[in-house]
C-alpha cells in the first residue's frame, strides 16, 4: 500500500476553504450589489458585483490545488443534461401552445414570454453548435 501524506487532511480542509471562499465571494457580491442598487448606488453595486466575479475566478484559477474532482464534473454533466431536458420540454410544449393560442386568437402572448422561448431556442442552437464541434473536431 502506498503511504498517505501526513498533511492530507489539511489539504482537504484548505480545498474546502477555497471552495467556500469562491461561493462566498459570489453570494456576498450579489447581495451587496443588490443592496447598493436599492440604496441608489447602481454603478457602485455593479462594481462590487464584478469584484465578486473576479474573486470567484481568481480563487478558482489561482489556488494551488485542484478544487473540483471528477465526481463534481460528473454531477455537473448530469445536472446540465437534466436542465437541457427540462428546457426542451418547456420549449416543445410552450412554443406549440403559443402558436395555437395566437392563431386561435384566444390569448395574446406577452413579449416577455416569447422572449423566454426565443432564449431557449438560442440555448439549443448553442448546444447544437458545441455538440457538433465536440463530435467532429479533428
Amino acid at each position: 500500500m502506498a503511504s498517505t501524506n501526513p498533511s492530507a487532511t489539511d489539504r482537504l480542509s484548505r480545498q474546502r476553504t477555497y471552495r467556500r471562499l469562491m461561493v462566498g465571494s459570489i453570494v456576498v457580491a450579489v447581495l451587496l450589489g443588490l443592496g447598493l442598487r436599492a440604496l441608489g448606488q447602481p454603478l457602485l453595486g455593479e462594481a462590487v458585483y464584478w469584484l465578486g466575479i473576479l474573486a470567484f475566478f481568481g480563487i478558482w484559477f489561482g489556488s494551488p490545488m485542484t478544487l473540483f474532482d471528477e465526481r463534481d464534473l460528473a454531477i455537473e454533466r448530469r445536472a446540465s443534461h437534466l436542465t437541457l431536458l427540462l428546457a426542451g420540454a418547456v420549449l416543445v410544449v410552450g412554443a406549440s401552445s403559443v402558436r395555437v393560442l395566437s392563431t386561435l386568437g384566444v390569448y395574446e402572448v406577452p413579449p416577455v414570454a416569447s422572449g423566454v422561448l426565443y432564449g431557449y431556442v438560442g440555448l439549443f442552437a448553442t448546444f447544437a453548435v458545441v455538440y457538433l464541434w465536440l463530435r467532429y473536431r479533428p
Binding site: A2, T4, A8, L12, T66, D69, E70, R71
Partner: protein, 75 residues
C-alpha cells in the same frame, strides 16, 4: 458498482479523508464510491488499485451480463 474500497480502507486503518487525499479527490467522492453511488473513472480506479497494491478487478466487481460480454467479444 460493487467494490471493496471500504473494506480495504478500514483494513489499513485509514479515514475517507486520508484515502481521498492520497488519490487526489474529495472525501465525498470516496464516500460515494464506497456507497456504490458513483463509479470512478478508469484513471481513479487505477489510482485506487495502485494505492492498495492490487488489481482493478480485485477492487471493483461489475455485475456483467456474461452473454452480453460473449456477444461483444465475438463481434
Amino acid at each position: 458498482m460493487r467494490n471493496d474500497v471500504r473494506e480495504r480502507r478500514e483494513r489499513h486503518d485509514l479515514s475517507q479523508a486520508d484515502l481521498a487525499a492520497a488519490v487526489d479527490v474529495s472525501r465525498q467522492t470516496i464516500n460515494a464510491i464506497e456507497r456504490e453511488r458513483y463509479d470512478p473513472s478508469l484513471e481513479l480506479a487505477f489510482k485506487l488499485a495502485a494505492f492498495f497494491d492490487c488489481r482493478v478487478e480485485d477492487l471493483f466487481h461489475p455485475s456483467l451480463d456474461a452473454d452480453a460480454v460473449d456477444r461483444a467479444v465475438r463481434e
